[in-house]
């Protein structure tokens, strides 16, 4: 459960705008689906996604049940210095997952 998949360029030029992609395995159960015997399946989604570049927040997303299963986000950031990019996902039922990637900037 919850395998994050990242795409972060390993190397970049200083000031270059780089694309970052992050996907995590998660059902994203909407809370609107009903089983055959009429029971509503309780909501279980990721509600918050956060990306930090050397401890500075660069991108944050609030997610709702309208996000697809295995939520995927791609976005941009400016490569300022070498370091670590950390990703955090948190959600219902105490869900928390984290992943990181390093980037070297010349």
């Amino acid at each position: 459960m919850a395998h994050p998949l990242l795409s972060v360029p390993g190397k970049a030029k200083r000031g270059e705008i780089v694309e970052i992609k992050a996907l995590i395995q998660h059902e994203m159960e909407t809370g609107f689906r009903v089983t055959n015997d009429g029971k509503t399946i309780p909501r279980d989604i990721i509600t918050e996604f956060l990306c930090k570049y050397n401890d500075e927040e660069v991108f944050r997303a609030q997610l709702f049940p309208a996000m697809s299963a295995n939520p995927f986000l791609s976005f941009f950031t400016t490569a300022t210095e070498s370091g670590t990019i950390v990703f955090e996902w948190s959600g219902d039922n105490g869900f928390f997952a984290t992943a990181s990637a390093s980037i070297s900037v010349e």
């Binding site: 705008i17 909407t30 609107f32 689906r33 009903v34 089983t35 055959n36 399946i41 570049y53 500075e56 927040e57 660069v58 991108f59 944050r60 997303a61 609030q62 997610l63 709702f64 049940p65 309208a66 996000m67 697809s68 299963a69 939520p71 995927f72 986000l73 791609s74 976005f75 941009f76 950031t77 400016t78 300022t80």
Partner: protein
């Protein structure tokens, strides 16, 4: 001489009664069918007001891309970008995406800053029906800009039974 039957000779319901019953049945089953809770354009507007407050929302600057015809509403590629210089003084603060006819009007809201370099993101969303999807961007000067796109969904997501 053959006996003449008056229309009310036989017992049981008249044709009119039968037809009326049929209509009532069709009517009530239609009402049941329409019942599932859906966000409405009004709910979407309320959700948008939660973000924009009383500010006026300009048309433009935002580009929202969805396929015009979607086969499965379970994972629809969405891409939103905003025309902005993304400098320390002129940048996009946040982008919110809303829909008209899913069970809830919100899809996602992202926060970014001047460091993003480019105000743009891609994701995959669920769509429960053919509808209008709206993106609203808040700029660093406090102004709001929006754009909408219509999408046709042939196999909806969200409400299926298991």
């Amino acid at each position: 001489m053959p006996q003449k039957h008056s229309p009310r000779d036989h017992p049981g319901p008249t044709r009119r009664q039968v037809l009326n019953q049929g209509l009532t049945f069709v009517g009530s089953s239609l009402a049941l069918w329409i019942q599932p809770a859906r966000a409405t354009p009004e709910a979407m507007r309320a959700a948008m007001r939660n973000v924009t407050g009383e500010a006026t929302v300009g048309k433009g600057k935002v580009k929202i891309e969805l396929p015009a015809l979607v086969e499965s509403g379970n994972a629809v590629p969405l891409s939103v970008s905003v025309a902005s210089a993304m400098t320390a003084t002129d940048y996009v603060k946040s982008i919110h995406v809303f829909n008209e006819r899913n069970p809830q009007p919100n899809v996602l809201g992202v926060r970014l800053g001047p460091r993003a370099g480019r105000a743009s993101f891609n994701t995959r969303i669920r769509l429960a029906d053919s509808q209008t999807v709206v993106a609203i961007a808040e700029l660093s000067d406090g102004s709001f800009w929006s754009e909408s796109v219509d999408v046709i969904v042939t196999l909806p997501a969200c409400l299926e039974t298991l």
